[in-house]
Subunit: 224 residues, 2 copies
């Protein structure tokens, strides 16, 4: 038997602030790593890393993003509240340090794209440019419009985005629709500050009570 | 340059249903893998795998979970709506196939714990037993009470849980509070059915605009 640490609510509250933040941020399991991209009405860009993107549905295609309680310097939240548009771009092992640095506080007139050395990617042509930039360095990019914006009990916002377009490296997609994120180098976040790549274990067949599972070690083999 | 596939909203809607589900489920990035555990008023247990747990805050310690639009056979959602309690247990590479099989449809009188061969773990003593079971096989277990339950535009529910207790293998925790989920074997999900373990890249220091990042390849080294 391995030793177990047990904490109740009072024990968690009593922890030093940063220790508590590192522990509680580890409890959800691995988190996705995306850059939110936005622009203001003059086209000035902003981006920030988030670990809080969650799948909501495929039809209609919806994603949710949790934003901290917005303050004066929450440029991305302010921009998407005005433009009703934002992008998500997967963070990969090729540029995760730049992505992490978007979480620093920069002067109001500095775009995080410039500050950390990432490249805005504008979707669409001059006649119909999507009003939020994605990240050119990313292998999976998504354009979304704000479908809803819910206030959470702790002051955070839960922004629901409807997917308007997506582009991704063609080689990532398997015939049955699946994107091989391990091949993309997409990052998984642990806690507040730990970056991981993923290693395949298997793809499993749709679970039925009366049938054994099928397991495929090769992610490129789909199910259709 | 690698080839890029681009789809707009209409192109996504036009995809065959399963192909679309596999693609859109890949877009959020890696997803956490947890088992939700609940019990009804007679103590009959239920559990199901979810890939939709998201961190909401450390103080108070809150997690969110998205549930599909609940139907008659949504035992876990029904149980937590009545008991106001549920657990989350990290899924690891040691039992991910059993965890996956909880997503099958079993007869109403069959607990998924029994059906797939997982062991209920009851927190607390006989006088004050937490009213929802966790998973004994899991290295990280969390007990939560229902703080809020929001209806989403597509019929899904966003359940907000307040953490009441947590237990985890002592060896996973680093001195600064962080839990080493790669060491735990915690799974990251890609798409609908792809299971991955994580491989460390680095932990990065808190980002400041005027200071270079520090990077630590050894996850056991904390920041305090």
């Amino acid at each position: 038997m391995t030793d177990t640490t047990t904490l109740n609510r009072e024990g968690i509250v009593a922890l030093p602030q940063r220790h508590r933040a590192r522990l509680v941020n580890s409890l959800s399991g691995f988190k996705s790593a995306n850059l939110v991209g936005t622009a203001d009405e003059e086209g000035r860009t902003a981006c920030c890393i988030v670990s809080s993107v969650v799948h909501l549905g495929s039809n209609p295609a919806l994603l949710g993003v949790v934003f901290r309680p917005p303050g004066d310097d929450s440029h991305n939240y302010q921009n998407l509240s005005t433009s009703k548009a934002f992008t998500l771009s997967h963070v990969t092992s090729a540029f995760y340090e730049s992505a992490h640095r978007t979480s620093a506080r920069y002067p109001a007139d500095v775009s995080e794209f410039d500050a950390v050395g990432l490249t805005p990617h504008w979707h669409g042509d001059d006649q119909a440019r999507f009003p939020a930039p994605a990240v050119a360095e990313s292998p999976v990019r998504i354009g979304l419009t704000v479908e809803d914006d819910l206030a959470l009990p702790n002051g955070c916002r839960f922004v629901i985005g409807a997917i308007q377009w997506v582009d991704f490296q063609k080689e990532l997609q398997v015939e049955d629709g699946f994107l091989d994120l391990a091949l993309a180098g997409t990052i998984a976040i642990g806690g507040l500050d730990a970056y991981h790549t993923a290693e395949r274990v298997a793809r499993l067949s749709y679970a039925k009570a009366d049938r054994p599972l099928e397991s495929r070690a090769d992610f490129r083999d789909g199910w259709d």
